[in-house]
Amino acid sequence: MKRLFFAVFLLVVVLMLVSCAPAKPANHLEAIKQAGVIKVGTSADYPPFEYVENGEKVGFDIELMTEIAKRMGVKLEWVDMPFDSLIAGVQQGKIDASISGFNYSEERDKVVDFTISYYTQEDAFTVSESFSGTFNVPEDAANYKVGVQTGTTQDGWLTDNLVTTGKMPEANLFRYDRVDQVALDLKSGRIDVMMSDYDPARYLVKSLGGLKVVWHGVLTSGPFNIVVPDGDQELKAEMDKIIKQLQDEGFIEQLIAKYIAQ
Amino acid sequence: MSQPVLVAQNLTKTYGKNVIFRDISLSVNERDTIVIVGPSGTGKSTLLRCLNLLTKADSGKIWLDGVEITDPTRCSEDECRQRIGMVFQNFLLFNHLTALDNVMIGLTKVKKMPKEQARRKAMEELERVGLIDRAGHYPGQLSGGQQQRVAIARALAMEPRVMLFDEPTSALDPELIGEVLAVMKQLAREGMTMLVVTHEMGFAREVANRMIFMEKGQILEEGTPDDLFERPKYERTRQFLWKIAELHGRKAAEENG
């Protein structure tokens, strides 16, 4: 009997949760304002843009988004997920938007939309200090074992330009869930070269030690954008407006000074 | 002559290609104590289990107090089994319950008796089989003979119209057989209607008023114990009974030193 009761109880709980669907607002932005909260996805393992310090989420993207939400007049709810699930998360509506050091890419554009750029990022190639090879141009990476974070634009660049064209064997490209994992393997010598965004590379070089950046410049990256659902013009317009405001006010420059220029 | 308590007509049971028994008919009257004997594997246990519908006979009919229990529209199986008590060779007490709870559970959960009333009745039955002082023990803490006596009390508590015993002492150590047989003899004397499958010839001669010899799935002979022991119609009957009696006698001689 007790078992039956429990089963029914569980069923009722599930049904209750299911029925808690909100009323249909006009569009996504309306829905967010109505709910009073925006759910933003990020992968808080990417210093200096989003990471955890003293139990709090901190970083360039974190502070930027916090300010944006404030100006939108809604509360900010962070949803932390592995980087490669974020795009899917926006697609499926699990999160309203995502800020996580996203570069614009055509592939991503097919399934989501982007705000205007809030920052310009360079790419970087990092090696260990004891590296004895030559590295003058990005294509030199083809001669070594290269590590990269999975699902990033760098991942795309290496795959399309070096592996698919045959310049580099597939087996020499190592993909990782997080960029700090790449750096650790770089330091231990399991790989020779790391390709990533420039600012995180500098953070890792400083924090880990024993590494150095051998090349940086705009290759795949360039602009950082916030990701919003495909076709969501209202949300994009709202965020674009605020980003422009923050740029004009010098807020973004302050963030750069705080997190990046070191 | 009032109607018989239990009647079976043309019961047949096969298992694949094997015929366990064929066309068995018998009738059990009130206060009868019937003993069924025969070589092992002649379907005696299966027959008993068919009588209380635990096993379904392939064909044939069974009546309990005039109601055909093999007809599902006349009475539900579970209901019928409340009125037929069964005692198994392996006792089959419920391991997670004390002796008292074993006897009580049929009363509270099947007969829906209030707890106090059930407890009193259960204590009575345990008293009847001489185990009132073991009421709080678990089956694992009881000897084989004690377990079987609790099993008998459990069956009796349901106040059945007839009690079926399936080789009740076959799994017991020799020293423990006596206490169980004593209970059974007492029951017979008190007028309980009983059908007993056993090898215990002493029991048969003392309290049975009818005896059935089964072999190869058929009833070979039927009559009073005296009939079968002194004036058997078939040589086979004589052979079997005297062999058993010889073993029994030898056993008795061994026990008596």
Binding site: R3, D45, D180 | G85, F88, L92, F94, N95, V110, M158
Partner: protein, 215 residues
């Protein structure tokens, strides 16, 4: 330094426990129902249950977790926590089905026969005679499954649920001290699993049947 690590990662314990406390009972309810269907349900039902068991246990739990997660969250609007926990519960149900089925079978058909002989219906027999014995028997292997679900709860990190493992990953990414971060997480899991096992041992002791011939 270790204290900071510990405090941040340990804060995920509540989530880890919450996931486990949704998944495990759900798995039990489903597993028990299906185990009974398997043993007592007749030919067709038995085959269906066998299929379910083979299918669900035939792939790595994390794979099944993802598949179920996307099925569940695709059709109903649940948070990752609920979708993930429910999915984990369904995964566990197949293993619990086998554990409970084994326990029910070891109680044996004879106990059922004896129960029916005093006029109990099959349902009553299952409820009052078979299950009380079977569930006691199932505690040791079930305790093992409980530990597994507790540890597998870490898999929901991939769905965005901030439990112990995810927090360890974040710390590792910030401090580049993977051994400290993951070591602390491991220590916390160890404490949880150890405690759970002790608890279930205690339950097993308290509910033990004295001198049980079935062991």
């Amino acid at each position: 330094m270790l204290i900071e690590f510990f405090r941040y990662i340990a804060a995920g314990t509540a989530t880890t426990l919450a996931v486990t406390l949704v998944a495990l009972p759900l798995g039990l309810v489903i597993g028990l129902t299906f185990a009974l269907a398997h043993v007592y349900g007749g030919k067709v039902l038995t085959q269906v249950m066998r299929l379910y068991s083979t299918l669900m246990r035939g792939m790595p739990p994390i794979l099944l977790l993802f598949i179920l997660y996307f099925i569940i969250s695709g059709s109903i609007n649940l948070s990752p926590f609920w979708a993930g926990s429910i999915a984990l519960g369904v995964v566990s149900s197949a293993y619990q089905l086998e554990i409970l089925r084994g326990a029910i079978l070891s109680v044996g058909g004879e106990q059922m026969m004896a129960a029916r002989a005093i006029g109990m219906s099959r349902l009553k027999a299952i409820r009052y005679i078979i299950l009380p014995q079977a569930l006691r028997m199932a505690i040791p292997p079930w305790s093992n499954e409980a530990s597994i679900v507790l540890k597998d709860s870490s898999l929901v990190y991939a769905l965005g649920v901030a439990e112990i493992l995810r927090r360890a990953q974040q710390l590792s990414a910030t401090t580049q001290q993977p051994f400290m971060a993951f070591g602390t997480a491991a220590l916390i899991y160890f404490i949880l699993v150890f405690t759970a096992n002790r608890l279930l041992d205690y339950v097993s002791q308290r509910t033990r049947i004295p001198a049980n011939p079935l062991g």
